[in-house]
């Protein structure tokens, strides 16, 4: 068990910026995902082939999942949540490739994703509801709950980052430990578990992000409905 298996060490420095394997792996992933998306959507047809059908099914599944939680804001939220799912699934599964590590095994990556979710909740809330209306929901149902709201925002973001990081790192660590203790081919069932866990963790992360974003939007909707009832 080498040091690079436990820690993400910088590969080289580019001025003040340290480039780690996580960043390099992410760039490779981005290149593959971007190239694949470009190639797959170059010749879309009304009568789809298998690949187009698969991609349309995937996009439709993402869209329907978002529609089930935030039906009025599917168009705004869908690219962010969809990208989260795609990125985390592929990043999680990257760890199955020998000699590569999942970018989500790096706390910096999961923290970055959690930070993006945290920012996106406020971004979508302010963009759709306006700053004043959005900030008002922190005072609901009582201004006394404002600190709890803020603590909740912080803790759930940290939990989001640590949950994904802990699960993916523990998976890789378990597989590595079993490989060291039991030998070749024994960790294969653990690798199968890795696939399932990768998909489940991606789903959980994306779904929680969706719920957080939708929660911020629906607090405004609840307020509007309440105002409508009181006006009536």
């Amino acid at each position: 068990m080498g040091e690079d298996s436990l820690f993400i060490l910088p590969l080289f420095n580019l001025g003040p910026v340290q480039l780690t394997s996580t960043v390099i792996t992410t760039w490779v992933m981005m290149a593959i995902i971007g190239g694949f998306a470009w190639l797959a959507t170059r010749r879309l047809q009304m009568k789809p082939d298998r690949l187009q059908t698969l991609l349309e099914a995937m996009v439709s599944l993402i869209e329907e999942s978002i529609r089930g939680i935030a039906p009025q804001h599917v168009q705004q939220i869908m690219p962010f949540i969809g990208t989260l799912w795609v990125f985390i699934v592929i990043a999680n599964l990257t760890g199955l490739i020998p000699g590569m590590h999942s970018p989500t095994r790096d706390l910096s990556t999961t923290a970055a994703l959690a930070c993006l979710v945290f920012l996106s909740v406020h971004w979508f809330g302010i963009r759709i509801q306006g700053l004043k209306n959005y900030l008002q929901h922190y005072l609901q149902p009582s201004p006394i709950l404002l600190p709890f709201h803020i603590i909740s925002e912080m803790t759930r973001t940290i939990a989001l980052a640590v949950r994904l990081f802990g699960n993916m790192m523990s998976l890789e660590m378990v597989a590595l430990l079993i490989l060291l203790v039991a030998g070749f081919l024994v960790p294969v069932p653990i690798l199968m578990l890795h696939i399932v866990e990768a998909l489940v963790q991606a789903y959980i992360f994306g779904m929680l992000a969706l719920i957080y974003v939708a929660g911020g939007l629906q607090s405004q909707q609840r307020r509007q409905q309440k105002q409508g009832v009181s006006d009536a």
Binding site: F7, Q18, T26, M30, G34
Partner: protein, 249 residues
């Protein structure tokens, strides 16, 4: 487990770049294609609904036309039935009229046949009566009857009115040369004298009288003065009787 701020920032940047890439090269093209396909399906559904509506309209139009046809057919059928009934009544009336005419013809024919039969029977009866009378008179004829007829003739001539005698004179025109008298039995002399005197007085003629016997007269006599024939005998009376019966029928 430590947080590398360079990686943290770069990962945020990487994710935003990936978000842009996927939005422009995956989500938008696929969503546009899905939207186009949905629009095409909607168009097809709309067209199908329009076709369906058009088919429904055509169906209703067809059913309405069928109903119209049915009404027209029923109307035509009623009209035809009325015409048939009218024609049938006319034919029935015509047939009744023809039957009545035939019955009338038959009745007339039967009546005529009955009359004819009656006539034939009467004719036969008359003929038999005439034959019976002829046979009876022929058997009963004799000089006594002739004398009696002679007396009747003389009475008749003597009782003849002057206008009739004058008319008879005009009929014979020029005076005949003789007067012929035929009798079934020879006349006695005194009878001849009485006759000649009476004839001379009635006709005003002074011509000889020629007597002849004609047994076919059975009894009685006839007198021929030019074109004038005076008959008083059984044969001519019977003949006259027969002719009279013919004329009567």
């Amino acid at each position: 487990m430590e947080l590398n701020w360079s990686t943290f920032v770069l990962e945020i940047f990487n994710f935003l770049v990936l978000l842009w890439i996927l939005k422009h090269f995956l989500y938008q093209p696929l969503l546009e294609m899905i939207a186009r396909r949905r629009a095409a399906i909607e168009n097809q559904l709309t067209e199908a609904e329009q076709q369906h509506a058009k088919a429904d309209a055509l169906k209703q139009q067809y059913e309405s036309r069928l109903a119209d046809w049915e009404r027209e057919r029923q109307k035509a059928m009623d009209k035809l039935m009325r015409e048939i009934e009218h024609h049938r009544s006319i034919q029935l009336e015509k047939l009744k009229s023809e039957l009545a005419q035939e019955a009338e013809k038959r009745r007339v024919a039967e009546s005529r046949q009955q009359q004819q039969t009656l006539h034939d029977i009467e004719q036969r009866a008359l003929q038999q009566a005439a034959e019976f009378s002829s046979r009876l008179l022929a058997e009963a004829a004799g000089p006594e009857l002739e004398n009696r007829l002679f007396e009747l003739l003389l009475d008749g001539l003597n009782a003849m009115p002057a206008e009739q005698i004058s008319a008879l004179s005009n009929e014979w025109g020029t005076a005949p040369e003789l007067i012929r008298v035929n009798s079934a039995y020879p006349l006695a002399d005194h009878q001849r004298q009485q006759l000649e005197a009476t004839l001379s007085r009635v006709t005003g003629l002074s011509v000889p009288v020629h007597y002849e016997q004609d047994t076919q007269l059975l009894a009685g006599l006839n007198i021929i003065i030019g074109a004038w024939l005076l008959q008083l005998n059984v044969r001519d009376e019977l003949q006259g009787f027969k002719e009279f019966t013919h004329v009567e029928h």
